[in-house]
Symmetry: C2
Subunit: 560 residues, 2 copies
């Protein structure tokens, strides 16, 4: 007797955080559902929690273990937090990847960088084209966002229609890409028995006013740039092709030659031009030419709106970059907002420019930047337009998802707060949590993938907080100390509060211990190590007030 | 022939950053000026730049080397960034410390904590009381700020009058402490030949609207608290005694018992009551009683507005604290703003509360918090009122000081941007930079003071980013390897990309090296170490894509 089919939803990333989006949908008998994966994104490390880590991505162990059930991977748009993990995680899933042309171009770069096959990427046209993936029929619906070709997905299943918004805003004049089309959304809500489930972006749920259009920036930016006398340098997110265009056009209108700096930006522009998304970008000049242009006739558009150390803005803040240099009387514009957590880096860049006499203009009043996400009233408009039975808020921290649920519930929609790892059964009229899957984070650390809970990064954080002491002891064939204990320290003050040498103080105590320790201890590596660690920590605490990490190396000579 | 007397200004902390204020003024012959020090503050470490550090304070080497010339230390108010380093740095300066009663009480705690003498602290009354300190005559002028008894200093010198604002705002109704008194400031500007030099707070120079009074918060806070059904927990800066009072009164007015949680808060309240600054604080109950009060009748006021891990708010976000626990339907209020750089910690607390079903209210629109610093129009009002010849903006990052200079210059005031370490001669009508002194940061790291550039913390950051490999080699009496190389790793993946063991791969390469190395290398510690480090880094890069820090321990057995 076969089990009943069910429709499931399982977020593996992005539900409980802003970043590393990854959502799984399934349909079929329990435990045998055929699956699709929507997005494989990354999030970025920071010194607080993930020092030295290169990228953070969802722990997809569950999906990898069920790779044979995965029909397809869909990428909604080309932001790093939606496509950045593709090259790293695809080898564990090995399903065809569907995306629209611009997104597919970026996805191809991601696969290429990791030496993965490129022919698994299939380019899709927007609705009415349909991708059949097992029991799922999927259509891409163009939506406006801060990158070209962002798409919502219509996922039709035998149990009803799902609309997965992905990242979106309601913009009737998005400069690049398709405007928001309420008639189309109205139709979507009236086909196929209506929308059963809405999985919906929650990023801006706390923004109380309706979002503003990308087009509102053209005039303020043009006026600002026209009013400057020196060189103008503007930064924004590299992938915000519409903004790049608006900035470049404002520069040209002010009689300035425009030069783009930063690899990420050039990659995006190239992909946008090659895929036909961007057809009329103003002429740009290379840096070699830009150095010859008088400052008042020059505008640079650069990467590094978040103060990233290696981006063009930070390079300019440190001095010359590709022959270009900022000077007193120049203007630096952040046409962007600072993502929470990046403040320190951005402020560092601002002050470096201040030291050069450069005027820094940021976006305190939203005059020079608009968000790419739907604000609260926009979310409500979408709820009303689509009239889903079930709402699953996604792409947000816990507080965003919770607030979004509240809005849905107030409208009489059955909303469920499902964070990463929560499997929800959507077969009935109410969402039902059926299982919790181990979800978490995988780190790209150098060239290897490690689990966030593996302890590797925890050890690094501990060394950063406490310092590291290495104690070496050599024992002879009879398990007696040979010579004295040797101590090396790293990340601790050499001089103790008393003025003594920390190393000498520790070595002294260790030698005293070795001199008096009985054979029982000296013969037992574990006991020795435990005792040595205790002594090192105790002396360090007394002398410098810190309890360091300790590594003990006990070398035993063996009779040959 | 005696040299001419001159008046000098030398910021050692706070000019080029917000935090760790420390300003030196001097009068006398060049190089023999008699000195006073204004404030000895700290700033707080972060994982990005100072992991594991306990406190950051100014490098006062110059002042310490000239300690015999220091007549007095003045503390303007009891905020950590003005008094926090007193106990640590006083032993190197050893001058009498002047402060008003509440500030002196906190200063006494700082000295006590570090085992320093308490009788050097002298309690001063506000103007007209005058402290004579060598050539300086100093008066404390009450100003409003976000802590009781904040004071500007009038520093009269043979070369003219200096007004050092310290931290201030213009508040006619500050709830606790003296209101801003424009008549008094008008008089100050007309005595003693007028104000020659204004050293002025720059923190809020980018805030375009006039600052609002502490008193404007009473109604919104009362309405908010009265409207809640569950327990209300509010956090603010522990030292903002006026806010604590407003919050407590709003709680009492809503029929709630009020309980304070957090050591820092209790310390402040105690000092404020004992010094008579606070006379009518509402009745509070201890936590033991609070646990018995129905949630709807209870209000907690807690420390931890910046998401600090050990403060009461973070403890409540993790679970029970002193028997008290937050639950669904409770409300948590941030009556504070997040200091840039603290966003991650604050957001962590917000989401933890969201998971508990607690509603978090923060201060998006300034309804529940006002700043303690003068905004741009307020700064301009002070410039106009005092009409100084010279303006030295202080307490601000470079961008704040620069903007503040501009405002002064636009008014025809001779303004100078002097960052930490810049000695300015104020004898003439124009400020003149005469010397650059080595200035920087001193870290309290555990119980020892270390220089920020000593390399200790740099090594910790490197270990956090790169991991740490320890390689041990033992050589016998003839400088031949005894046994095999031994490698330990910390903070690196044990398994390489290839699946091999990283330790085994490194050990294998090291043993191969030892087997083939000539005597010339084996007999030379430096050459050995260099070669081993190179091999470790190379193998690590190949296997896990990281270049670790490497410590090599070479043990040579000696013939007995």
């Amino acid at each position: 007797m076969s089990k009943k089919n069910r429709l499931i939803y399982l977020p593996l990333g992005g539900a409980g955080e802003i970043g590393m989006n990854c959502y799984v949908f399934g349909y079929g008998p329990e435990g045998k559902e055929r699956l699709i994966v929507v997005d494989l994104g990354v999030t970025f490390p920071d010194m607080d929690g993930s020092p030295g880590v290169d990228l953070i991505m969802p722990d997809i162990t569950w999906a990898a273990e069920n790779a044979d059930r995965i029909e397809a991977i869909f990428i909604t748009h080309a932001h790093e937090d939606h496509v950045g993990a593709l090259g790293h995680l695809w080898p564990r899933l090995k399903a065809p990847v569907y995306a629209r042309p611009f997104t597919a171009a970026i996805a191809t770069l991601k696969m290429e960088e990791q030496g993965q096959p490129l022919d698994v990427i299939r380019v899709v046209k927007p609705r009415p084209e349909v991708v059949e993936a097992g029991p799922f029929k999927v259509q891409f619906v163009p939506v406006s966002h801060s990158i070209p070709e962002s798409s919502s997905l219509i996922i039709d299943t035998p149990a009803g229609r799902i609309v997965h918004t992905a990242d979106f805003k309601l913009d009737g004049t998005p400069i690049v890409g398709e405007p928001f089309n309420p008639e189309e959304w109205y139709r979507i809500a009236r086909e196929a028995g209506g929308v059963k489930v809405l999985t919906c972006d929650s990023t801006n749920v706390f923004s109380p006013l309706p979002g503003r259009s990308e087009a509102t920036l053209a005039d303020p930016l043009s006026e600002l740039i026209a009013a400057q006398e020196g060189m103008v340098v503007a930064t924004t997110f590299a992938s915000n092709v519409a903004r790049l265009k608006t900035l470049a056009e404002a520069g040209r209108a002010a009689g300035r030659s425009v030069c783009l700096l930063g690899r990420a930006m050039k990659k995006m522009i190239t992909a946008a031009v090659e895929t036909g998304v961007l057809t009329d970008f103003p002429a740009i000049i290379p840096p070699e030419e830009a150095v010859e242009v008088p400052r008042g006739n020059l505008m640079l558009i650069v990467t590094g709106s978040q103060g990233e150390r290696r981006a063009a803005s930070a390079q300019l803040a440190r001095g010359k970059y590709l022959g270009l240099e900022m000077k007193e009387g120049d203007t630096f514009l952040f046409s962007s907002k600072t993502i929470p957590g990046n403040e320190r880096g951005v402020i560092r860049v601002m002050n470096a420019f201040s030291e050069m006499g450069v005027d820094v203009i940021d976006d305190h009043n939203g005059l020079y930047h608009v968000s790419g996400h739907a604000n609260r009233p926009d979310l409500e408009a979408v709820h009303d337009l689509l009239a889903p039975k079930i709402l699953l808020p996604m792409h947000g921290e816990h507080r965003h998802l919770r607030e979004h649920c509240r809005i849905g519930i107030a409208k009489g929609i059955a909303a469920e707060l499902a964070i990463n790892g929560t499997m929800v059964d959507l077969t009935g009229n109410e969402p039902e949590v059926v299982e919790f899957i181990e979800a978490g984070r995988t780190y790209l650390d150098g060239s290897v993938l490690i689990g966030a809970m593996d302890g590797v990064v925890r050890d690094r954080i501990r060394m950063a907080l406490n310092g590291h002491v290495l104690a070496t002891v050599i024992l002879d064939e009879e398990d007696q100390p040979l010579g004295e204990a040797w101590v090396e320290i790293m990340g601790l003050s050499e001089t103790a509060r008393s003025g003594a040498s920390l190393v000498e103080r520790i070595e002294g105590e260790l030698n005293e211990f070795l001199d008096t320790a009985g054979d029982k201890v000296l013969r037992n590596d574990d006991k020795m190590e435990e005792a040595i660690k205790r002594i090192v920590r105790q002396v360090s605490m007394e002398e410098v007030g810190k309890k360091p990490e300790v590594t003990v190396v006990t070398s035993r000579l063996v009779a040959e």
